[in-house]
């Protein structure tokens, strides 16, 4: 019985924190898909850069944890605006294959840059002392850090929910997701709105990469390594459905953790099986129907 509770606690805490990080690095892409239907395979690059920059600021510049992360997010946000202006403008209306190819190319460049700037080795994140302490939770010794991640994740989810559901900006955002043409006709500045949410999404990805550096280790290949997971969240969430994305991310985080915990040999399969079953069942009603050219 004890082992069961202990096991559940493990899967629960670790799965939940993993899911939260997954949410942070994916939610931006969920928004992008919802707003402009662009397949962005390079989204993970912002998460990786966020993590790397935060670590660099902490290690080289000696900045405190929180400050380093905030700065890293700001840099990622600004960087994403530049990328959007340079490349994404061309992608609106292009075929999904072209979008995928271009953004994969950008991801390649991003990965190569990470290697150039930070080296090929996995970077270990140094956590501030309070977070490294362990607490006893339901028979399991758990790092405070994990609980911190969960709390942070919930805080972000709540803030996002409030922003989407209760503010004017959120209302405009939902209008754009629903029908961008109509939204523009009604006077909503779709371009600016998209730029803001794109930057916000990239910031959140950077946050996820920085805070989650101990869960998803930082290495140059990071953007590709977690691409399938990010896409899974996007595919299973639907257009711009951030709350659903949160639920999906938590679900996937817990399932993946449970899989690896219960079946260490083959556990990593479980998540892909989930994806396959989902794709088989939902068929072509995903995201949007094929475009008739």
């Amino acid at each position: 019985m004890d082992a069961l509770v202990s096991g559940l606690t493990f899967v629960g805490i670790y799965g939940l924190s993993y899911g939260m990080i997954l949410f942070l690095i994916s939610v931006g892409l969920v928004m992008t898909m919802g707003l402009v239907r662009v397949v962005n395979m390079a989204h993970g690059v912002f998460a990786a850069f966020g993590g790397y920059i935060a670590v660099a600021l902490m290690n080289s510049a000696g900045l405190p944890y929180a400050l380093a992360i905030v700065l890293a997010c700001a840099v990622a946000g600004l960087g994403s605006l530049v990328v959007e202006r340079l490349f994404f403008r061309r992608l609106y209306g292009a075929s999904e294959l072209e979008q995928a190819l271009l953004t994969i190319g950008l991801a390649f460049i991003g990965i190569a840059s990470l290697n150039l700037l930070f080296g090929a080795n996995v970077v270990s994140a140094t956590l501030p002392a309070p977070l490294t302490a362990n607490i006893d939770l339901l028979g399991r010794s758990v790092q405070v850090y994990r609980v911190f991640v969960i709390v942070l994740g919930f805080a972000v989810v709540l803030s996002l929910w409030y922003a989407i559901d209760r503010t004017t900006f959120g209302a405009r955002l939902r209008a754009c997701v629903d029908n961008a043409g109509m939204a523009e006709a009604v006077g909503i500045n779709v371009r600016r709105l998209f730029a803001i949410s794109y930057a916000a999404g990239s910031c959140l990805a950077a946050l996820g990469g920085a805070v989650g550096a101990a869960i998803l280790p930082l290495e140059p290949i990071y953007p590709f390594k977690y691409l399938v997971l990010i896409l899974m969240v996007v595919v299973m969430s639907g257009k711009g459905q951030m709350m659903l994305a949160a639920a999906v991310s938590i679900f996937l985080g817990v399932v993946d953790t449970a899989g690896r915990f219960l079946y260490p040999e083959t556990g990593s399969f479980l998540i892909y099986m989930v994806l396959l079953v989902y794709l088989i069942v939902r068929g072509n009603t995903l995201i949007h129907s094929p475009v008739v050219r």
Binding site: F87, L102, G105, N115, V235, L275, L276, L279, N284, V292
Partner: protein, 332 residues
């Protein structure tokens, strides 16, 4: 050029020369680079694989991001055939291809019912899953180590496999030629035109009575078969098969090679592959991550400036020249 099925192409000697150029160059390579035949063979093998990808992606419009699954199945099947006593290379390659084609048939209902991003996801998922299966099934695939020491019987019972790869080269070239002719023939047929129709407007195809899934399945299975043969030939000529045969890396590589040369044109596959692989050979001395700059840059430039790849650029240049093309229109 494969571009328009029904436009009567003027039979000029330049067309014949252009068509034979590739094969003549290939033969010339044999004499000019006797020490690089293994690279040449791997280019030929990869060209077959990229050809199979063009069939589904360029012509039928199936976005396959995990096509190496079929290459890998063919490669491992060929190895296992030899290890279990069946070492005749040509039929061995056909049988291995059949295994890959059968797998394509099995997963086709899942892959072909979707399109766009969902299709990318499905094909990618299969690629990742199959790779993990191959990785974990060490009893079958020897995992990371790979299966070595594959010794096929002499070709046609006569030509022994040589240390410097001469027989291997002609074997690979022979297969590429046969595959190219067959695929081109199929694509020039009414079925080939129907596949292009499915790519252009799948919905309208249904409204002229076509079972789109049926046509796409035919293309997908044929493509799997060809990719499997490519994998088998790879194993037979290098006497080795490893996990890289089934890797997502290989799938993405093929995608880049195809897009570089120009999809939907068959010759694009044959043009993009040697260029990409030769450049990569030189860049191999670098840090592998620097090579990613090159590939990434290639993809970005192609999509932003030259969507039809190199052949697309060539066509654009040709259509600007003021030449009186009798009746037909140059598809620039």
């Amino acid at each position: 050029m494969m571009h328009s099925t029904l436009v009567p192409a003027p039979r000029r000697w330049q067309t014949w020369l252009a068509a034979s150029a590739y094969w003549l160059v290939a033969v010339a390579v044999y004499f000019l680079f006797p020490r690089n035949l293994s690279l040449a063979s791997s280019i030929l093998v990869m060209s077959m694989f990229v050809l199979s990808l063009d069939l589904v992606l360029g012509f039928a419009g199936i976005v396959s991001f995990g096509h190496a699954v079929f290459f890998g199945i063919g490669a491992y099947a060929a190895a296992l055939l030899v290890l279990n006593g069946y070492a005749e290379p040509i039929t061995g390659a056909l049988i291995s291809g059949a295994f890959a084609g059968a797998f394509a048939l099995i997963i086709s209902p899942v892959v072909l019912r979707v399109s766009g991003l969902p299709q990318i996801m499905v094909t990618l998922s299969f690629a990742v899953i199959l790779f993990e299966v191959a990785n974990k099934a060490v009893w079958l695939t020897k995992g990371d180590d790979g299966i070595g020491g594959i010794e096929p019987l002499p070709l046609l019972g006569v030509f022994k496999w040589t240390a410097f790869g001469q027989t291997q080269f002609w074997y690979a070239l022979g297969w590429l030629f046969v595959i190219f002719v067959v695929v081109r023939q199929v694509l020039a047929s009414p079925l080939g035109l129907a596949l292009q129709g499915c790519r252009e407007n799948a919905q309208r195809m249904r409204f002229i009575g076509t079972s789109v899934v049926g046509k796409l399945t035919m293309a997908y299975v044929l493509s799997g078969f060809v990719a499997g043969i490519a994998g088998a030939v790879s194993t037979q000529t290098t006497k080795f098969v490893g996990l890289d045969a089934m890797s997502v890396d290989r799938s993405i590589d093929a995608l880049v090679m195809l897009v570089l040369g120009g999809a939907g044109r068959l010759w694009g596959a044959l043009l993009g592959t040697p260029i990409y692989m030769t450049v990569r050979q030189f860049a191999a001395q670098w840090n592998p991550f620097h090579w990613m700059f090159v590939v990434g840059g290639m993809l970005v430039v192609i999509v932003m400036l030259a969507r039809g790849g190199l052949l697309g650029l060539v066509e654009q240049l040709r259509s600007r020249k003021p030449r009186g093309s009798a009746g037909g229109v140059h598809h620039g």
